[in-house]
Amino acid sequence: MAFGNLKFDTLTTSGQIHGSEVSIDADYINHGSTKHWVLLGSSGTSVTDSFNNTSVADNGTGDYTLTRTNNMANATFCVNVTSGSHGTSYNVATDTATQTTAVFDIRGANATEGATADIPNTNGLVLGDLA
């Protein structure tokens, strides 16, 4: 059976992975799906892989802005960023104050957080509501 569009409130599957039937309200599919994710390159300023990301801007050492293709509904979305290096000297964080419906920021610093630093292979993802 093929649908162009399927409208439903609850999705029930047989649980082929965990072995028992499971149901999920469609709200969790919408609100729980990651809306924007990005894996930056070794320099921190190129994009290795992404979803719903249109560009990265290099604002200076350890300061990148990620711009998405389809915007969020508001600027109060959730961001998680993770360092992608096996080194012992990297810290990454996001900057909530600069978030807009179109962008989020990733900031990098050295181990003591005493100076900004370009962090290689940083990951970032966004959850929240699409516009």
């Binding site: 999705l11 990651t34 070794s42 290795t48 915007n71 012992t88 290689p120 940083t122 993802l125 699409l130």
Partner: protein
């Protein structure tokens, strides 16, 4: 239809691509791309032990402050996105947030210091305390997004 009962969702135009209408009722997002393909809650300090997980076959304790997640169903390449945090710094709870950190090996360049890269079936990680030394941590939480094989 209030409840759709299915075993597998498959796109009609492209099997591995299903559009979901966003919360604003206009933009669509891609179901497959937005789903976490694996997640794990791991105690590297005691056991070590996996508290709970999805699509994570096992965790390999490599060394102090070093471990590897092994996937049940593999990714289609090593270019996936990882989000993670740690809940404590061995037993030195005062350290977290003050320089202790977790990193997952996402090296994708030829530069030697970045060559520990993930594979389609596993990804390594390191945890470091505030003094910069590798440390086993009690709570490791990670989620992984990208394309399944």
């Amino acid at each position: 239809m209030s409840t759709a009962k299915v075993n597998t969702l498959t796109g009609t135009t492209t099997a591995g691509s299903i559009a979901v209408t966003g919360e604003g009722n206009s933009t669509t997002t891609n179901l497959q791309q937005g789903l976490a393909k694996a997640w794990v809650n791991y105690n590297h300090h005691t056991g070590p032990a996996v508290r709970d997980s999805f699509n994570t076959a096992s965790m390999t304790d490599t060394a102090t402050g070093k471990f590897q997640a092994n996937w049940t169903n593999n990714f289609n390449d090593y270019l996936y996105c990882t989000a993670s945090n740690h809940g404590d710094d061995n037993e030195a709870y005062g350290n977290y947030g003050a320089g202790s950190r977790i990193s997952w090996h996402n090296g994708h360049s030829a530069e030697s210091q970045y060559q520990q890269r993930p594979t389609t079936h596993a990804q390594g990680s390191t945890t470091v305390d505030a003094s910069g030394g590798f440390t086993d941590m009690r709570t490791i939480e990670g989620m992984f997004l990208g394309d399944l094989a």
